[in-house]
């Protein structure tokens, strides 16, 4: 299904020129008329109303805003939305189908891999990118792959367990 939207997430245009972008978000084509300086994270959150992508630090350190960009994890607070024009973006809302959770989501819940939940969407997307490339990672490989995502609550041990739990489930399901 193609969904076309005209939205102006960066408010009423003043004399600043706007440009049109079109990207695939969670499998659906979305379009928006935006200021060129608009960050991808803000287009996703305010324009497309997908608030599972969080902004934490503004400096590409915390990873709360991580989305998959053509399958690769990127920090959407440090990308202009215009750079995503014509590309494919997956957010946390795109992980689960209507009733079926993604194994990474099940793993995070089952292994108590989250507390406040703020870093969780970005953490899960970084993990999904890892598992797509490496279905059978070691603990060290998981820790390295998640080292661009900060968590202040859990101490990471259960996050690592959650990713390994999901890896096992995904291998079993394959």
């Amino acid at each position: 299904m193609t969904l076309f939207e005209e939205v102006a997430p960066s408010g009423p245009p003043s004399d600043i020129p706007t440009t049109r972008v079109e990207l695939r978000v969670n499998g659906e084509t979305r379009a928006a008329q935006i200021e060129p300086r608009l960050l991808l994270a803000h287009l996703i959150r305010n324009g497309f109303k997908l608030t599972g992508t969080h902004t934490g630090c503004d400096t590409t350190n915390c990873g709360a805003c991580t989305v998959l960009y053509d399958g690769q994890p990127v920090k959407s607070c440090t990308m202009f939305a215009v750079q995503a024009n014509g590309h494919d973006v997956t957010t946390v809302e795109g992980l689960a189908s209507s009733e079926q959770l993604h194994p990474i989501q099940e793993g995070f819940k089952d292994e108590h891999g989250l507390q406040c939940g703020f870093c969780t969407p970005g953490m899960m997307l970084s993990a999904v990118a890892l598992l797509n490339e490496n279905p059978n990672p070691t603990e060290d490989e998981v820790r390295w792959a998640l080292s661009g995502n900060l968590c202040r609550c859990t101490g990471y041990q259960n996050i690592v367990k959650a990713v390994l739990w999901a890896a096992e489930k995904m291998r079993g399901d394959a």
Binding site: S10, G11, P12, S14, D15, E35, R37, L38, R45, L50, T51, G52, T53, H54, T55, G56, C57, D58, T59, N61, C62, A64, T91, V92, E93, L95, A96, L101, Q105, F108, K109, D110, H112, L114, Q115, C116, G117, F118, C119, T120, P121, M124, V142, R143, W144, L146, S147, G148, N149, L150, C151, R152, C153, T154, G155, Y156, Q157, N158, I159, V160
Partner: protein, 792 residues
């Protein structure tokens, strides 16, 4: 048949968290996710200077930007008597600066616009003319005879000292020191840190003129305190204020105070008659909101040759920044610093504490601890290790000699608290056995012969968690109790609300488990709500590990009230007298006739359809719980490390944690709390600090300079448990959320110092950055005193 408590998600079940269902789908509802029609956006302009007079502020260029609705300055706030607001420690804090700025990052103006980008443009267009003043960045400078006066706004304040406070027995302590075989002395600095939840602070204020009602979505750990504060500051009647604290992206003490940004967004909403959202950026959060620690210690232990500690002397100098905005009980000027040495049997102790203003951000919040308890326990365990080393005694044996024995409870601590329960030696022994203490000591000696530096560090402590009681604990005069309200619907399902506010601790899961334990209603049949002052009963919020000790106790007590009423209904349904009714989990039955019974659900239905004559219908109640004492969990943390003598880098080999937090409601969540706390402990020992250059520039104003550990650096943890139920808590639970943050840092630091034993080094201030460890190794001298400016 009685129910299986674990199956219904009662006490002791590692029940999977209900809140996770929304978080894993990206459906959490944080303040920045809330959108209201016609919403405007606010951004704050902050001072680039630490200390300067404001000569003028020109906002005309900001107003010229299309989409800018309003610019607020201190002058505008002053015209409405809102330029200053009270802090939680009986001081005042500028909302927007009028006369001068007193720290880098202080709020100078704010812009409200159609969009956050335009609001930021507006901030950049404001021109402020500053006249720089000499900045003060540490207590030594603050107390110098010729120091510039930071708080010239305060009548009668003629120097930079905030308080000079003492507690304990000075004469007894002096006598004990005169009799000591050895006096062990050590000085150190617990550096400034920042709780830094990943979600910064923010608010969305919505004043509705047609109803005169102010609704504010706010990142707050204590919504009811905020409601009271807003009512007093803004002179809005309390019933016309609704504070909603939705999902919080972490708190750790940072979201307890009332910040200027909240007040500005409220005033802006009133003036513009539109919802105004303020979402703080990370730099704003790190440089202006509640920090933790920043305390200097001079410590002395009077020791006998057999290892017995006779007395403790402590003096602290604490740096509170430009406003005394500590979030702490009002009686205690340096929080619960005097809870130090509570786990040891020490006859006398004396503490003097001095607090000063500096040109640094205000705060002094209980960063994942119970009001300065983190500093207290760190100082304690560093002093204990130094004394053991000075005496030439094994550090485990030295602790064993001095730990309070199991049958000595209740026991007065050296500073007068009353501890009530624990198995301290057992915890220590479990830790020593788990780490293989004697084997490691041998391994260490063998490694040393080959030029490798291994070390082992122990930290044992009990800490006071769960303020009140309300006789001694209040904030701004508001007594520290807490509350719960339970409504059981006719089908036996229920809604529970409390005055606490979860920020990741999992209250939605664990409170239902307490109800399940008390009433036998399956946890999945109970929904838990917190954080909305219009619906939740009054409570003091969640910080200082007080939720389970206080609000959790209230959940028990309200459930018992419900059970007492249900018992009467059961007697009515079973046509026997109350005295003939027995209770088993989830069911009342007739004494001597076990098969004649009714379930709690039967009683709920009857409460709405078939109550006995004269009984009020319905099945709901509330409880306000004022704890008789604090709870006293105990912990033993043992770390082993290897220090690289070539670089000063140290790696954690193992970390063993033994925690006794009494009865565990949800063991999975308890372990999650411990691991999170251990990570913060590791962070503080290793990398995480906020420092300032000599001009008062905050170094650590973003996550590139303020180092937080990632999954890569963070070590694995080995957890063990001991259960000594709290004698006064209704289900025997004690606080746990902060034990590891409090007790953990000393284990790491003690291990590194142990690795350096024989070099003459007795102290390296945290964080133990490689260059500092390397320098200590090279010079054989302590690294103590004011923190360096970090350059990497």
């Amino acid at each position: 048949m009685a129910l299986d408590e674990i199956k219904i998600g009662g006490l002791g079940a590692s029940r999977r968290r209900v809140e996770d269902n929304r978080f894993i789908r990206g459906k959490g509802n944080y303040v920045d996710d809330v959108v209201l029609p016609g919403m405007l956006h606010m951004e704050i302009l902050r001072s680039p200077l630490a200390h300067a007079k404001i000569k003028s502020i020109d906002t005309s260029a900001a107003y010229a930007i299309p989409g800018v609705r309003m610019v607020m300055t201190g002058e505008m706030m002053a015209a409405r008597n809102l330029a200053w607001m009270p802090t939680l420690s009986y001081d005042t804090q500028a909302v927007l600066a009028t006369d001068k700025v007193r720290f880098q990052g202080q709020e100078v103006a704010c812009v409200i616009a159609d969009d956050p980008y335009i609001a930021k443009d507006g901030c950049e267009a404001i021109v402020v003319d500053y006249e720089p003043l000499p900045p003060i960045v540490n207590p030594t400078q603050a107390m110098a005879a010729d120091a510039p006066l930071i708080r010239d706004d305060k009548i009668g304040q003629d120097n930079n000292v905030i308080f000079d406070w003492a507690v304990g027995d000075r004469e007894g302590t002096d006598r004990a020191f005169a009799e000591a075989d050895l006096v062990s002395e050590i000085s150190m600095h617990y550096p400034r840190s920042h709780p830094s939840p990943i979600e910064s602070c923010g608010s969305l204020a919505d004043y509705d003129r047609s109803t005169s009602k102010l609704t504010v979505y706010m990142t707050t750990q204590a919504p009811h305190i905020v409601r009271a504060a807003v009512s007093l500051v803004a002179e809005i009647p309390e019933h016309m204020i609704r504070i909603i604290s939705p999902d919080l992206g972490g708190g750790f003490g940072n979201k307890v105070p009332v910040y200027p940004g909240y007040v500005m967004s409220i005033l802006a909403s009133i003036l513009l008659e539109a919802p105004v959202k303020w979402i703080e950026d990370k730099s704003g959060n790190l440089i202006s909101t509640g920090f933790g620690r920043d305390v200097y210690l001079k410590g002395q232990l009077a020791v006998r040759n057999d290892g017995k500690i006779l007395a403790v002397r402590m003096h602290t100098d604490s740096d509170h920044g430009a406003f005394f905005a500590d979030a702490q009980p009002s009686k205690f000027k340096i929080g619960l610093m005097h809870s130090a040495f509570a786990c040891y049997d020490i006859p006398s102790a004396h503490l003097t504490a001095r607090g000063v203003y500096t040109n640094k951000s205000p705060g002094g919040v209980a960063y994942r601890c119970s009001f300065r308890v983190t500093e207290a326990m760190f100082f304690q365990e560093r002093m204990v290790q130094a004394a053991a080393d000075d005496l030439g005694m094994d550090q485990a044996e030295f602790r064993r000699v001095n730990l309070v024995k199991d049958d000595d409870f209740p026991k007065r601590t050296p500073f007068g608290f009353l501890t009530d329960s624990g198995q301290y030696e057992k915890c220590l022994q479990i830790g020593l056995d788990a780490i293989g203490y004697d084997d490691f000591k041998k391994e260490k000696e063998e490694a040393k012969a080959r030029g490798r530096l291994l070390g082992i560090g122990i930290s044992t402590m009990t800490e006071p968690l769960g303020a009140g009681n309300s006789r001694e604990y209040d904030i701004l005069g508001i007594k520290m109790f807490d509350s719960a309200e339970l409504r059981v619907h006719m089908t036996g399902k229920a809604i529970l609300r409390t005055g606490a506010k979860t920020q990741g601790q999992g209250h939605e899961t664990t409170w239902a488990q307490i109800v399940a334990h008390e009433l036998g209603i399956p946890a999945e049949d109970i929904v838990v709500e917190e954080g909305d002052t219009d619906t939740a009963p009054f409570g003091m919020g969640t910080y200082a590990s007080r939720s389970t000790p206080v609000a959790g106790a209230a959940v028990s007590m309200v459930s018992r009230k419900i059970r007492a009423k249900a018992r009467k209904i059961a007697a009515h349904l079973l046509e026997v007298s109350d005295e003939d009714i027995e209770w088993e989990l989830g069911r009342f039955y007739v004494r001597g006739a076990h098969d004649r019974g009714v379930t709690i659900q039967d009683c709920a239905m009857a409460a709405y359809s078939n109550v006995p004559d004269g009984m009020e219908p319905g099945l709901e109640n509330n409880a306000y719980y004022d704890p008789p004492n604090l709870t006293w969990p105990f912990a033993c943390y043992i770390a082993t490390v290897e220090v690289d003598p070539e670089t000063g880098v140290w790696d954690v080999l193992r970390l063993v944690a033994v925690d006794d937090c009494g009865v565990r409601i949800n063991p999975m969540i308890v372990e999650g709390q411990i691991m999170g706390g251990l990570t913060e402990a590791y962070a503080m020992a290793n990398m995480q600090f906020i420092t300032f250059d000599e001009d008062g520039n905050c170094v650590g104003s973003n996550y590139m300079d303020y180092l937080l550990p990632t999954a890569w650096e963070t070590p694995g943890f080995e957890l063990h448990e001991v259960v000594t139920p709290c004698p006064h808590h209704p289900i025997g639970a004690k606080g746990i959320g902060e034990c590891a943050t409090v007790g953990g840092p000393a284990a790491f630091v003690n291990a590194v110092i142990d690795a350096l034993k024989g070099t003459g080094v007795r102290n390296i201030d945290m964080p133990l950055l490689p260059d500092r460890v390397y320098e200590a190794l090279q010079t054989g001298k302590d690294i103590s005193g004011h923190p360096p400016v970090k350059t990497d």
